[in-house]
Amino acid sequence: MRDLLLGLAFMLLGAVVLTVASQYPTMASLQYGPSLFPSLIGGGFLIGGLVLSATQLPTLKRQMSSSEANAGKMFDLRSILVSLLPCALIIFYIFASEFLGAALCLGIIMFVLMLVRKTSLPLALLVSLIASLIIYFLFSRYLLIPLPEGLMNFWG
């Protein structure tokens, strides 16, 4: 079932790539323009997606009947949500780091992730604090990466 849906998604992606590629300019002096490779890749997505979906169709009916019975078992909502937590925390960093500063954001990210996996509170706090400061100073002071300072600006 997952492969069937993925196959359809790839076909959709192929159609979008083909549409976008068809709008690229053509030049009279060049036989093959900037749209050639994207068009071939779009075609590849369409064909690959079609084959992936088509190979799943014969087993679809069987899977459907068994999946109805096991619908509850198939998706562990908590696991899916927790697996998305690193992504959510990266988005938090992207939007909050300018204001809060990289060091504080990194510390918060580590602290939250450790608590999710049931690390003891004092240990999570200690490790987050030390690790975030080490990473921050390693990259910003030693490697001279301009990480956002945020609130650290106020402390001078």
Binding site: M27, P34, P38, I41, G44, P86, I90, I94, L106, R117
Partner: protein, 504 residues
Amino acid sequence: MEAFLLGLQLVFNIETMLVIFAAAIFGVFVGAVPGLTATMAVALLVPITFYMDPTPAIAAIVTTSAMAIFAGDIPATYLNIPGTPSSAAYVADSHLLAHKGRARETLGMNLICSVFGGLFGTLILVFVSPSLAEVALQFSSFEYFWLALLGLSCSIFIAIGSRVKAFLSLMIGLLLSTVGLDMMSGAPRFTFGIPDLMGGINFIPVMIGMFALNELMLFYGSRNEGRELPSLSKDSVFKQAPKHVKAYWPNMIRGSSIGTLIGALPGAGADIAAWISYAVGKSRSKQKQDYGTGHIEGIVDASSANNSGISGAWVPALVFGIPGDSITAIVIGVLYMKGMNPGPTIFMDGTGLIYALFIVFFLANLIMLPIGYAAIKSAKVFILTPRKILMPIILCFCLVGAFSINNSITDVWIMLLIGFIASILARCDFPMAPAILGLVLGTTLENSFMSSMLKSNGDLLSFFSRPISAGLGALVILLWLSPLLAMAYKKLKNNSHNKAPRIS
């Protein structure tokens, strides 16, 4: 000779030696902690290597990858969890031997085979690459087009699992390689008006997303911490080694040869080399029934192969700029950044960098012996390092590492997006290596095609007009037709088999 002496100078200095030592410790750590792969380690190293001279930067990558591949055997032996995918082929044998109280003996043999395989692959790299480079000097855009296509095709045909999924994974990589300004017309493609995308997608955030963020998401999606340590063995590490080496030295040579060859094929890394070597060893063994039941012979076969595969992958990377595996895909990017453009001219360089690289390979494999021995003795420290503490720290390294490539938040978005997509694909058994090869080779493929078309006024037959180009083209077509040819051969064989009784 002068270049060689310069190479010695580049390696034997305090900075490079310290980097090799630190990278060896880092490699052992990453390899020995299940869930952290050698590729992830190298991807995370890249932002740090940005600020190093070329020789220590390459030394860090070579040493880390070689050590991580060996260290992956430690949790495989004690926990039945391969530290890196390269140890998966013989995990059952290793773990069963550990249950018999022979864990250190097994790891000792792993170490000896890893060192032997690594040195064997390095010798091949040193002696074969310069000769191949002389041939490669004759190459034009026509040959490079076919080589890139051959590499991309190999990544599909060699991939473990579904070829359709490998093909779609490759298409993702190729699509990413088209982002940015078109080489011929200057037209922006898939940039969505974002200035940071005009120069194309940097592959380091992609690699961090694909291999590090993806692993993190899988870790948080599972509830298994995997930390039930059996009692640690107290047997001797090297006491039985002379006996095993005497009995299985042909396996070591065969495993190393297979590993180097498989490693040199684009898309096939150390893990595939180990699986194939294990299978070949089993098919040729007098005790094939013992494979999988705690037999040291299979471990010798595969353990030699995975480390020689690491060195083998560097042959096409250095000579043609075509990566042999995911690690050399990263290395190619690092080489470009350090001004060492991979390709045949790298061997004409008079600054001694190429000799420094060869010397680093030897050192990385030799240092494995003492550090590997210490790691076996202190296995408990590595195995018991809690992932619930490590993974959050790795996520922060991913974030800062992706940002530091161009000091741009766009790269963090790219890492996030690619990591998210990769985790979905990985859950559905899509291989990641073709995508990386597509991203790295996509530009070579398109640029060499366009240059060839300009030279030949759009005549497609010109791809077959030069002897080497025609040969490579025929090889690619043969590779594409191989499934059909194999089917036809099977059908023919079945038909003749069915007819045989009627005749008699």
